[in-house]
């Protein structure tokens, strides 16, 4: 088991959002978390990434307890978070952003190898490598955020709403690049509001509603489930 989240409670200040969320991911799996707006999907990811301290429960990564560690330590363990807001360094060039993504890698040669890897993955970023991140289009920024997330050579990539605000063509591009990443052996946890799309690409899925896991199973089964079809797919 790569990631094991057990009975996780989390929230903001006194406001509890997640109630006893349990989920797990095996190495190499592609897992989706879907659910309505405000269900707590981003909160789940932020808690795993260490941006929000958990109120209860535990998070194990590679069998090691990482509950309550700060983000920089969690990143060093091999978890990389690509947030919904992207959190790019807007006044830095594409290249600088990517190099910052490899901050935890001390070896310069390895850093440059990662840079080549990401530039291969997103040729578009190569064309724009000297452009400031803040002046790029929404789709390009998404690619940059995912690319930066990959720079640290993570074991687990957490991706929050990569298609948010993107045109259909760009959405397809982003999903394609995630497919490529899965083939390179990375484990991905994907959060999306686009339920149909997510369940069609992932191996397994969780349905999060009101801060609780409502359902879990193979993505194809979830997509055929009458409840899911009624509530999320409107059929």
């Amino acid at each position: 088991m790569l990631l094991e989240v057990k009975n996780l409670d989390a929230g903001y200040g006194y406001l509890q959002i997640l109630r006893s969320v349990s989920l797990n991911i095996d190495k190499g799996e592609y897992v989706g978390i879907v659910g309505p707006n405000g269900a707590g999907k981003s909160t789940t990811m932020k808690t795993i990434a260490g941006l929000i301290p958990p109120m209860g429960g535990s998070i194990l990564f590679n069998g090691e307890d990482i509950t309550g560690l700060v983000t920089s330590q969690i990143t060093k363990k091999g978890i990389s978070f690509v947030s919904e807001e992207m959190n790019l360094f807007v006044n830095m060039s594409v290249r600088e952003n990517l190099l910052m993504g490899a901050y935890i890698i001390k070896d310069k040669k390895v850093r440059n190898d990662r840079l080549d890897f990401v530039f291969d993955l997103f040729p578009r970023l190569t064309e724009r490598k000297d452009q400031l991140a803040g002046t790029m289009s929404g789709g390009e920024r998404k690619m940059l955020a995912i690319g930066r997330g990959m720079m640290s050579d993570p074991k687990l990539l957490l991706v929050d709403e990569p298609s948010f605000g993107l045109a259909p063509q760009l959405t397809a591009n982003v999903f394609e690049s995630l497919d490529v990443l899965i083939k390179t052996g990375v484990t991905i946890m994907l959060v999306e509001q686009n339920v149909t799309k997510t369940l069609s690409v992932t191996d397994r899925g969780y349905i999060l509603e009101n801060g609780k896991i409502g359902m879990e199973g193979a993505s194809c089964d979830l997509a055929d489930d009458p409840y899911v079809r009624k509530v999320f797919l409107g059929v």
């Binding site: 990143t75 959190n87 807007v90 006044n91 910052m100 935890i104 803040g134």
Partner: protein
């Protein structure tokens, strides 16, 4: 190729930065022709040192989100340290004028000032800002600002209590004939002060632009969550930034001891001037702060020369208000908004 450069150059000249830098250079040249080159020498020496103080202020604002009003007190700490380190050294030099200490001694005093500045910065973070950050970051900008005002008052009074309110100054750091360039004579102290500021600004710029640590300081200033996500230890960067910022201010205080003797409120003038610079050049832009420092220094020198010594804060602040009306983001404010501009 060259055509493109010409186009770039013309559009730069027409930008706010281009216009103001060009005007400044022209004004400097005319003033120098009109009343003598010493005006440029003064501008360049104070400008260089002001650049150090203003860069520190920019760092505090950009990375820590602190509107620092105690920055002048680190200037004061620098000048005080340099005074107490240099006094015994200068006695030794007067007995052994040929010794190499005559060359190295002043540098030792200035380096001690920097180290003391860095240490005081760390102490301030550990005792003042750190505890506030841990308690609550609600209303951070206002609360931390009030803390810096309190810190300033505290340090000024501590100086007075422990070291007294008299002027603690030196005759000069480097003795010897003034350096002459063309027909202009520049005292060695002034020349060295300028060299020191240029070397430090250049090193600092290189550090911020190319080193991994410098880049992570910029990363924190642009997006703190992003910085955490890529694995940057925020606490470490905060500590490093505050010690750097305070060291920069203290170096200026130490280097200028021959012009500004140390006394409790010696830091007020550099503080105000540095704030003029930061407001004028736009928050959080290091190269802008350097250019802005020379502009403010020029403005001050010219005001003193042509209008009178009492006006040297009035005219610069009036001009800054005018600039802000037309370009609220400052002359060098960029089009890309960073975390500092929120």
């Amino acid at each position: 190729m060259s055509n493109k450069m010409v186009v770039n150059f013309t559009s730069w000249i027409k930008s706010a930065a281009g216009i103001s830098i060009t005007i400044s250079i022209l004004v400097a040249v005319f003033a120098a022709i009109n009343s003598g080159p010493y005006l440029i020498v003064n501008t360049v020496v104070t400008g260089g040192m002001l650049a150090l103080v203003a860069t520190g202020l920019t760092l505090m604002l950009g990375v820590l989100n602190i509107a620092m009003f105690a920055h002048g007190e680190f200037f004061m700490i620098g000048s005080l340290t340099a005074y107490y380190v240099f006094t015994p050294i200068s006695e030794f030099i007067s007995e052994n004028p040929e010794s190499f200490v005559a060359v190295i001694g002043p540098l030792i005093a200035i380096v001690c000032a920097a180290i003391m500045g860095a240490i005081s910065g760390v102490v301030a973070e550990k005792l003042v800002f750190g505890p506030l950050r841990k308690r609550s970051t609600d209303n951070w900008v206002m609360n931390s600002f009030l803390l810096t005002v309190g810190l300033s008052v505290l340090l000024v009074n501590l100086h007075q209590l422990i070291f007294g309110a008299d002027f603690k100054g030196i005759v000069g750091y480097w003795s010897g004939m003034p350096i002459s360039i063309a027909d202009v004579f520049i005292s060695r102290d002034r020349a060295m002060a300028f060299v020191i500021s240029v070397v430090i600004v250049a090193m600092f710029w290189f550090f911020m632009t190319y080193t991994r640590t410098g880049m992570s300081i910029r990363a924190v200033s642009q997006d703190i969550t992003g910085a955490q996500i890529v694995g940057i230890d925020i606490e470490k960067i905060v500590l490093l930034t505050i010690s750097l910022a305070c060291a920069l201010s203290a170096v200026a205080g130490g280097s200028l001891l021959f012009m500004y003797p140390s006394y409790p409120t010696v830091g007020l003038e550099p503080l105000y001037l540095a704030w003029f610079v930061v407001i004028l050049s736009g928050l959080g832009n290091i190269l802008g702060a350097v250019a802005g420092a020379f502009m403010v220094a020029l403005l001050k020198a010219i005001t003193v020369e042509y209008i009178g010594a009492g006006w040297d804060f009035v005219i610069p602040s009036a001009l800054i208000m005018l600039v802000l009306i037309f370009k609220p983001s400052g002359i060098f404010g960029s089009d890309v908004r960073g975390a500092l501009d929120k």
